[in-house]
Amino acid sequence: MMWAFLHKLASPQGFYALSARLSPWCWGLAACLIGGGMIWGLGFAPADYQQGNSFRIIYVHVPAALLAQSIYVAMALAGLVFLVWRVKLADMAATAMAPLGAGMTFLALFSGAVWGVPTWGTWWQWDARLTSMLILLFLYIGVLALRGALGTRQSAARAASVLTLVGVINIPIIKYSVEWWYTLHQPATFSVTSRPAMPAEMWLPLLVMVLGFYCLFLAVTLTRTRHEILRREASRRWVQALTGEGP
C-alpha cells in the first residue's frame, strides 16, 4: 500500500497528476501568507527603537536566507535519492530547485546590502555570514554551470548530483572556517544577532513570512518540476496524449 503509493508518486506521470491538484493550493497559500505577512510586517509591526523602520527589511531578508540554505540541502537530498535509487523525478526536482535557490541567495545578499547602508553605513562588510552566503551563491552557480555545460547529456544529472553532495558536505566546513577567520581578522563591531530579543508583534509577521516563503518554494518547485517532466518525457505516449500532439 505504502510502497504502491511511493512508486506512483515517484513516477513522472503519477507525480504530474498529483501535483496538478496540489500546486494551486501551494500558490494560493503562499500568496495569502506572503501578502498578509507583508502588510502586517510593513504596515502594522512597531518600528525598532534603534533602527527605526529600516529593520523591516528583515521580513524579506531572513526568509530568503533561510530558503537559500534549505534549498541547497533539498537539492542534495534529491541528488542522493537520484544517485541511490535512480529516481528520475528526484533529479527533475533538483533541476527545478537550483535557479530558485540561487535567486534566494542573491536576494538575501542584496537585501542584506540594502539593510547594511542604514545600520552599518556601508553596502558591504566582510562579515562571516555575508562571506559564507556569497560562497553559497558560488556553489549554486557551479551547479547551474555544470548542468548548463553538460546540457541534455545522460551524465548531466548524475554529475550535478555528485557535485551537490560534495557541496553539501562542504557547506558546514566553509561556514565554520569563515566564522573562525572572521573572529581572527575582524573586530566584531556590528552583529545582526546582538539585537535585543524581538517582541511578539515583530516576530509573528516574520514567522508568517517564513512560512509563506516555504510555501512559495513548494509551489515553484511543483510547477517547475511539472514543466521539467513535460520537457524530458515529451516523447512518451502519455505526454503526447495530454498535449494532443504526436502520432
Binding site: 556553489l139 555544470l146 562542504n170 566553509i174 572556517s177 569563515v178
Partner: protein
C-alpha cells in the same frame, strides 16, 4: 587454472598501483611543462602584485602570506585540467576504469603524483617568492609546511572537479567555478598559519585544522572522484 593464479599472489595487489605511479612520474619528467608551467605561473602572478599594488616592503610584507597562498592556489587550479584529460583522450582512462584494482585507490595514486608534480614544487619555491615580497623572517618554514600540507588537500578536492569536467569542451573556467568555493577553508587555514607565525601566536591549531581538512579529503575525495570519472566516461 588462470583464475586461481590471478588471485594467488597477494603481494602483487599493489604492483599495478606502483606501475601506474611510475608511469605517471615518467610522463611528468618527459613533459617538463606539466610541472614547470605552474611554477612559472606562480612567479608571474607574484610579480604582478608589487607592480599593481605598491613596491613598498611595508605594504607587501603584510599582504605576503595571503598573496603567496592565493597565487599558489591559482597555480594548482590551472594544473588540475591536465589531471585526467590526456588519459581520457587516448583511452587509457577507460582501461583504468576496467582494471581489477579499486578505482578510488588508482585515483589516489594519480592525485599523489599530481601533488608531487605541483603542490610540492610550489611549496619548495614559495620561500624565494616570499623573499621578493619581504615576507617577515621566521615564517618561512611555516609557509612551506602549510603549502605542502594544504596543496595535498587542494589536489584531492580538485580531482573531483577535474573528473566531473572531463567531457566538457574548454572546461577550464567551469572547473574553477566548481572547485574554487571548495578551496576557501584550505586558504583560510593555510594563510592563517603563516600569519600566526608572523604574529607570534600558536601555529599548531592552524596546522591541525589543515591536517583535518586533508584527512577528510583523503577519506572522501577519492570516492567522489571515482564516481565522477565513471559518470563522465559512461556518457
Amino acid at each position: 587454472m588462470s583464475r586461481p593464479e590471478r588471485y594467488a599472489e597477494p603481494s602483487g595487489a599493489n604492483r599495478p598501483l606502483i606501475a601506474m605511479m611510475r608511469r605517471d612520474l615518467l610522463l611528468m619528467m618527459r613533459s617538463p611543462g606539466a610541472w614547470l608551467n605552474p611554477l612559472a605561473f606562480f612567479a608571474l602572478v607574484i610579480t604582478l602584485f608589487p607592480v599593481g599594488i605598491s613596491p613598498a616592503a611595508s605594504v607587501l610584507s603584510t599582504l605576503a602570506p595571503g598573496l603567496l597562498w592565493v597565487a599558489a592556489l591559482l597555480a594548482t587550479l590551472l594544473s588540475l585540467e591536465g589531471m585526467f584529460r590526456d588519459d581520457a583522450e587516448d583511452g587509457s582512462l577507460e582501461q583504468l576504469l576496467l582494471a581489477p584494482q579499486p578505482l578510488p585507490l588508482l585515483v589516489l595514486a594519480r592525485v599523489a603524483v599530481h601533488w608531487v608534480s605541483t603542490g610540492l614544487p610550489l611549496a619548495l619555491m614559495a620561500p624565494v617568492l616570499g623573499i621578493m615580497l619581504a615576507l617577515p623572517s621566521g615564517s618561512y618554514p611555516m609557509l612551506m609546511a602549510s603549502l605542502a600540507l594544504g596543496s595535498a588537500a587542494l589536489s584531492l578536492i580538485g580531482a573531483i572537479g577535474a573528473a566531473l569536467t572531463i567531457g566538457v569542451a574548454r572546461g577550464g573556467i567551469l572547473l574553477s567555478l566548481l572547485v574554487l568555493p571548495l578551496y576557501v577553508p584550505v586558504l583560510i587555514f593555510g594563510s592563517g598559519a603563516v600569519q600566526a607565525a608572523i604574529g607570534g601566536t600558536p601555529v599548531a591549531p592552524h596546522l591541525a585544522l589543515l591536517g583535518a581538512l586533508l584527512a577528510l579529503a583523503l577519506a572522501l575525495a577519492p570516492w567522489a572522484t571515482a564516481a565522477a570519472l565513471r559518470i563522465s566516461l559512461n556518457a
